[in-house]
Amino acid sequence: MDIAFLITAAAILAGAAGAMAARNVVHCALCGVVSFAGLAVAFLQLRAEFVGFAQLLVYVGAVAILIVVALLLTRNFEAMHEALAFRPWTLGLAIALLVSGAVVSAILGSGLTGRAPSSAPVPAVKEIGDLLMTRYVVALEVVGVLLTVALIGAALVALREDGPAQRAKPGERGPVEGRPED
């Protein structure tokens, strides 16, 4: 095993473990970012350049930021002093251990393990683009619709329930601004 893989794997797993175990929720998010970035590097090691950069752009640039903004909006920026986990937390841990143990043993027991990576070149962006516009065009459209719906839906769900219309809009044609005092 080469060093690069070991470092990447260690970063991914340590980041994930930190994200799941840290007491301070912002630390959870930042450790999660380490894990996401490590995965981007793993994608690059697997010579999936476009996916690696997309992973970095979406997860570090968007999802992580979304998470920390949500953390601040829900006032989660102090370390928690109450219990971190549900009461029978050993049960959840046991289930997780069982699942990952089963998967790992299945992997090690299968005949796939020795397969070497193919030496196909890094896929060009142009090929990906061509495929997106031909073979996967339906999926692309569906994802586009999904993202639009998610955008509108998220905005609606997070909107204040008293509605923005009742509140005075700051800065827009306010009665105070720009008018001489009578």
């Binding site: 930042l30 970012v33 640039g61 962006v125 800065g171 044609r173």
Partner: protein
């Protein structure tokens, strides 16, 4: 002769790498490129800080720094020594680890972004197939650094500044990325080297085929510049710093070398995004006219970079800071529709390339320009409608 001068640094690097054993050569090549990028852009940073201070001074009819060395040329050195010798203060309530890591997360991605920029003929450190995506992907890490700095300082001003910066950078990332879309569409590649190559050739045998000489390229460059100014947190979009209202925002609790790292990060980010704008719209390292081709390619690149930086300084000296809601309105209600229309204009430009009738060139130009220009006027008027603009009187003023 001119070719040798043009390729001087490339052949120097090849010669240096050739001196080493074969096993080390790929690494040596990377290290030399990284060292060159670091050296050149750090020097440029020092120069820019000085020129910015002097330029802003002249804009305000002052001298600017002129005491250290001849014409104040050693001022950056003095600043650097001052920064290094200052006390490194970490607030007692701060999150020490995150507070320490934040400046590094700021600088490292910015330096990585230079890897894909071709600063001259054959002078890109790495030619990724998805180079543009790489640029934006590492650029996205800066937002995280700003958040880390703002949150870890445990100071309400820094938190407010950090959140402002994140909101601003996310909002302007969209127009920034979308304004590069037409270029990618027409070049058919996300590699910055390919995009520069796509701008080769000449109109009418003398004027270079830069994208900026097309209607969508001109509009794209303007939109890109506005978004890039906001993305690099420069005036008039420097709300996150906002020294008069939130005392430098996420930088409040930073001092000494950590502050210097943030400062370096901001300036290097500005250069990087300018370099991207040059590569995408201004032909990268290409000469503007045929008879100036003999000037070395890297000279052209840095000349254009200097022009961009001068523009940024000029804008900073001219425009007052925007208000937060105006900032968001500009991004979402004005820039975003325009960049989308600009992409359509580029598509139209592409498909009208076959027109052959008399005056086709002019008609094509007007058509594509009006696709962006008319919405510019309409949108602008709509957004200004009902707003009172002009001299104001205030209640508290006597």
């Amino acid at each position: 002769m001119f070719d040798a001068l043009d390729q001087l640094f490339v052949s120097l690097k090849h010669w240096l790498v050739g001196q080493l054993p074969a096993a080390l050569q790929p690494w040596a090549s990377l290290v030399i490129s990284a060292a060159a990028i670091l050296g050149v852009f750090m020097t440029l940073f020092a120069l820019t800080v000085l020129i910015e201070r002097k330029g802003l001074g002249r804009i305000q009819n002052r001298y600017g720094p002129n005491r250290v060395g001849p014409w104040g040329l050693l001022q950056p050195m003095a600043d650097f020594i001052k920064m290094l010798t200052k006390e490194d203060i970490v607030p007692s309530g701060a999150d020490r680890v995150v507070h320490f890591v934040a400046p590094l997360v700021m600088v490292v991605p910015v330096l990585l972004a230079y890897a894909v920029i071709p600063v001259g003929r054959n002078m890109a450190a790495v030619d990724f197939n998805a180079g543009l995506l790489f640029f934006f992907a590492v650029g996205a890490c800066i937002e995280l650094a700003v958040f880390m700095a703002g949150w870890s300082s445990r100071n309400k001003y820094s938190l407010l500044g950090g959140m402002r910066a994140i909101a601003q950078m996310i909002s302007y990332e969209l127009p920034l990325i979308l304004s590069t879309l037409p270029v990618v569409m027409l070049a058919g590649s996300m590699s910055l080297v390919d995009i520069t190559d796509a701008q080769g050739g000449h109109y009418g045998g003398w004027l270079a085929r830069w994208h900026v000489f097309t209607p969508w390229g001109l509009a794209g460059l303007l939109l890109f510049t506005v978004a890039a100014t906001a993305e690099s947190n420069r005036a008039p979009f420097d709300l996150p710093e906002g020294e008069s209202e939130i005392i430098a925002g996420h930088l409040v609790e930073y001092s000494g070398f950590k502050y210097a790292l943030f400062f370096i990060g901001e300036y290097l980010g500005m250069f990087a995004v300018s370099a991207l704008g040059i590569t995408l719209f201004l032909g990268g390292w290409r000469a503007p006219v045929l008879w100036l081709e003999w000037v070395p390619s890297y000279m052209w690149f840095f000349l254009k970079l200097g022009g961009f930086v001068a523009l940024f300084i000029w804008l900073r000296g001219t425009l007052p800071r925007l208000r937060a809601d105006h900032l968001m309105n500009l991004a979402w209600k004005f820039l975003l529709p325009l960049v989308l229309l600009n992409a359509m204009s580029a598509a139209l430009w592409h498909y009208t390339a076959q027109w052959t009738f008399a005056g086709a060139g002019l008609a094509r130009w007007l058509l594509c320009a009006s696709l962006v220009g008319v919405p510019y006027v309409v949108l602008g008027r709509r957004l200004f409608a009902g707003q009172h603009i002009g001299p104001r009187t205030y209640r508290m003023a006597a």
